[in-house]
Amino acid sequence: MNFLEARRVLDAFRGGEALSFALGLSGTGEPFEVYLRAAAAKRGRAAEVRFLPFNTLAQALRQPPDPAVVEVFLLLPWDFVPEADWRSGVAPTVDERQLRSQGMETAGLLTRRPAARLLYLPAPMPPLCREPAGGAALARWIESLAIGLGARLLPAEAFTLGSYFSSGCPIGGAWIGRVAEAVVEAVVERPGEPKKVLITDLDNVVWNGLLVDDGLDGIAFEPTGRGYRHFVYQSLLRRLRGEGTLLAAVSRNDHDVVAAPFRSSRMVLREEDFVAIIGSYHAKSAQIRELARQLNLGLDACVFVDDNPVELAEVSLQLPEVRCLAFPAHDDELPGFLDSLATLFAHHDITAEDRERTEMYRRRLAGMVPSDFEGADLTRFLEDLKMTLTIHDRSRGDWTRAVQLINKTNQFNLNGRRVTEAEVGAMLDAGGRLFGAALADRTGDQGEILACLVAPDGTMQSFVMSCRVFQRRVEYAFLAWLAAQPSPPTALQWASTSRNAPFQRFLAEVAGPLDGNGLVRLDAAAVAARHASDLALFAVSDPALSR
């Protein structure tokens, strides 16, 4: 909604029920007013907005909330870490532990305002840390903290430095209308009503590890070592289920694979604790929408927990009514996270019907088929991740990680073929090529996540990618890059396995319909052209190859 449109909406608005709220942000809020009033008018409501005075958010959070006032906080990184405020310049030195302690303090203050509506704008921060990776890790930590508090995520490009410097308004003209609409949406959502459905991711959330790669014996969920955080989470879910909360799981996996740990009798949670365990390679937002439809419940009754910021963004953008929470990356964040969950699902009086609700809904959902609808267009979100793909020629030197990836990856795997170092060495000596690719983004370093082995005759023998980076378009970008190189691969040695459905989907998209196992021809020029936009999502560096 642009400025003139906002004025037109207001000119045509004949009044409606009052919508009163207080908006707090670090900066000037008043330029929002016309857009907020227009966004409310579009819903037939007459906005009455009170703005916190300039730069008083920190003080306001230390005052007890007025239960009669609906509070909305539009949070920026410097609300958690004041040294990150551009208007203060770049701090000469910082103590990272101190920064995080300040962030935790702000998070604690916000936790005491459970009725407040939170929005988080992950604006870029000045270079606070000596190492760029430290700054990226700090930004990711703050974002996780905000999401953990239940904040809605706004696109980072909504922040503009020019406006922030000149007037103190952190939102630029291109986004102010859309941010105002998000604020009004947050105000009108039904407050205080307990949520009904908790939808959880599985890998690195219900258990530690990747089930399909690490196997049942390789994942951890017991009260020891790396399993502890997940054990505690499971125990809270068990309690919530007993109080009437409906539990569901969505995972990018096959159903039978993800159900196995729940059938093993080794975990706190069992299969019958869930109304549905959905294994699907399609968008999680589509599964959640279908689940809510089948349960005949509103999306605003749902809470979604995941550890992957891309999955959280996809659901948050596609289904803004769903409350999204990030599973903590560190033990210190666990208490705040569990507290948020317990608050969202607070049940005061628990009836026998509450306790039996899961079984009732399980019967209703028996035979539910995962949805294959497409998810949100994540292009903007991915652009904002500022992803860097570093492609290494592993044909010489250290190929340990590349071989390791080929031998442990199951889902995104061209043919499931395992290789020995001797086989790889022989192929490379004969003129083959081995590539590895590492991914980094503004949230941190993902490490080496892709490997590709091409035989001397131009046939791709292995192509694998870690499922941690699904949805970031890395596989398309890499193939587009490879297809544009001199002597690109001419075919892929495809074989279907019991677990590589994600690769099958990818291959059908880049090479056309598949006709059984065997060689699949690759039209390199067409692939390079069709997926150039995917490649453009990344800053690609190929140090060894350019020499």
Binding site: T28, V34, S163
Partner: protein
Amino acid sequence: MTEDAEAKLQAIFRAALELPPHANVTRAGQREVASWDSLAHAMLMLAIESEFGVAIDAADQIRLTSYPAIRDYLEERVARGAVP
């Protein structure tokens, strides 16, 4: 600047500065227009960014205090291909 763009700029001025519908704003300057205070200036800059798809640097925002200055600025951005 095209006629449409000029008309849009004038509409933004009238709305952001709360001026009458037919007020001539082509010579308006911050010193002469009583309603052009710092808040109205912030709203004007955001409105121009929103309608013309540009991001205006802080230093430019401070010096863009009249209609002719803003018009010239937008024309220059158009010439540089910075306005979509």
